[in-house]
Subunit: 363 residues, 2 copies
DNA sequence: CTGTTAGCGCGTTCAG
DNA sequence: CTGAACGCGCTAACAG
């Protein structure tokens, strides 16, 4: 029978039952220090039939290690983040450390409260895909870092914080996709979802400014789009950029607007899979066919992209690997806190299927 | 300057800095007991510029509450589970409690080790979608329950454990879908994925036996399929049941096999979205059209189902709500440990779109 | 190799 | 209303 109020047998209960000192019991149960095989057996047996479970809280109190790490993302329900999470949790679990997950919906308050909760719970480290776009807005992250908690930025970098970052090359990914479209003869390419702005930007500068104040991933993708246009000397048309709120419903609406314009796009580039969904809805509503009437390339090669009619050309992001690398980096950072922070950039792959048609307006 | 080795300022540091007793500091910082506004102010200020963060571990040690709950599922990377998780985490976070997530890949060992980790970390409760199909195989769950940790079963029930269960009506969902197909005139309906068996069952009994030893959800779905067949007096054909390992690749292979058989199915029912992906691949490979050549209904109404050509008829599961209900139930269970366990059954919705064609072989 | 003792940081009596 | 003292369960020096 357990003696404590909480009901759980403690290490002293075991020691008593085994007829040895606490420390001996603690040593064998904790797996440290020396203890004779005979005593060990006695302790183990006593522990067994008392149903002893080591109290991780108490252990953490004295060791200062919780074997728990925190993960903060916008939405664990999202396929991208849940893929990353899986990668993180898998590699963490291999080292028998658990994962605390918090979704923020890109809300600053939620992110701050998440960080605080994790700090208070004394997690061994934090992996975060922050909604902050500026150093000033990332004070809570700097705080965690200053508390001595290792922090890894995943998917969204934020230079200047002096933290390790694990990201993909968003700019190159977007550039390659747009190039693929341009090479197929397209010149009017819609960019479905860009930086949200209050009014539609007319100048390129306005747009770039808005983007630089936006999420790392989104602004990089826009830059890549612009890069490709520049390379081919194609003029930038602001009416082809979606700047409203990022929901698949808004993506649909903006696409509809573009289709109804005299200078409608002949191709669409979507920066996220929800954007693809929205674009696809609009395309169907207007009775357009892919790729005959409109070509499409999107981000995130989910399994369904391949079974669409026609199969969609997509940019595959290594979600799981992103998580694995972030977790690895965190683990080594926990050991060795003193090396210089670095950025790990994973590459994407443009999976060419049948959603892009050559419209042969090229020499 | 912090005095402890861990670097973090403690409540006594604050007390000292504020020139008051520990208890006074503890009371204001912990938000309990009485303390004069003036002292309170002094303490708060001292805490502020010392950068004090309450140590949740220490607090949990004395209160016995961790404000943390554990979630165990097969795969957080899976869209169904990540949806459920989101529901759980959302409602938990509203009560400022965090969520520890562990994936098991349906492995018994991983599930056991997950439960142990959670018990040791003294989570306030556990929500699990267990891989165990029998009471005997669920001993680890019974153990957690006996340790006094509230446990809620989600998505997969296991009667006899005496635990609360939050599930959907799998049997009715499958039955309705099959009925819809039958009413459209179909009599040869493939069931893509059923209980894995070593050899293809020839008798209905064999199959049902295999199913009853399978996951709760899967066996219920098979029963629903059989129910509908029985209602209409349609004979059961074992060659239409997929009994190999559950991967989309195997789903594809089994579909291919069925298509090549003289008695090919005219409709397919898929019990999971990965099964749909596999079936869709096979359908394309054989050059079949939906719904002209083959009708299809699947589980899990993910956003992409609606933008397929044609839009797919799907069974929508309330994933988020499943999580919300499970979390709610857990929270009330944590308060009030003494009420009788109950099963909450959420209903699904058959979303009829264009993947089912009437083949009019009916009066 | 083993037992004793002192923290870890906070909640919580119990006098004053 | 305030402060001193003890306990939570475990690790870690330190003697023996």
């Amino acid at each position: 029978m357990p003696q404590t109020r909480t009901g759980a047998p403690t290490i002293s209960d075991v020691a008593k039952a085994a007829g040895v000192g606490r420390a001996t019991a603690a040593r064998t149960l904790g797996g440290y220090g020396y203890v004779s095989p005979q005593m060990q057996a006695k302790v183990l047996e006593a522990a067994e039939d008392l149903g002893y479970r080591t109290n991780a809280l108490a252990r953490s109190m004295s060791t200062g290690v919780t074997h728990t790490l925190g993960v903060i993302v916008a939405d664990v329900g999202n396929s991208f983040f849940s893929g990353v999470l899986r990668g993180i949790a898998d590699t963490a679990r291999m080292h028998s450390i658990d994962t605390l997950v918090i979704s923020t919906d890109e809300s600053r308050e939620k992110e701050i409260s998440a960080i605080n909760a994790l700090i208070n719970k004394r997690v061994d480290g934090i992996i975060i895909s922050t909604a902050a776009r500026t150093l000033a807005a990332a004070e809570h992250i700097a705080q965690a870092r200053d508390q001595g908690i290792p922090v890894i930025l995943v998917d969204r970098a934020l230079p200047g914080l002096g933290l390790d970052e694990v990201v993909i090359d968003n700019r190159a990914a977007a550039r390659d996709a747009i190039r693929c479209l341009i090479q197929a003869g397209h010149r009017r390419i819609a960019f479905v979802w860009g930086p949200p702005t209050l009014s539609r930007p007319t100048l390129r500068r306005e747009l770039v400014d808005a983007a630089s104040d936006n999420l790392f991933t989104e602004s990089e993708r826009l830059e890549g789009y612009l890069d490709a246009l520049d390379d081919e000397g194609i003029p930038f048309d602001p009416s082809l950029i979606m700047t409203s709120e990022k929901t698949s419903e808004h993506a649909r609406e903006e696409m509809l607007r573009m289709f109804d314009s005299p200078a409608a796009p002949t191709a669409v580039f979507c920066t996220e899979s929800d954007a693809v969904i929205g674009a696809l809805r609009a395309i169907r509503e207007r009775g357009l066919r892919i790729p005959e009437d409109i070509s499409l390339i999107g981000f995130d090669d989910n399994p369904w992209a391949e079974v669409m009619n026609p199969p969609l050309s997509m940019i595959a992001q290594p979600m799981h690997e992103l998580g694995v690398q972030a977790a690895r980096r965190l683990l080594t950072r926990i050991e060795n806190t003193a090396t210089a922070p670095e950025r790990i950039t994973l590459s994407t792959e443009l999976i060419c299927r049948d959603s892009v048609k050559s419209i042969g307006s090229r020499p």
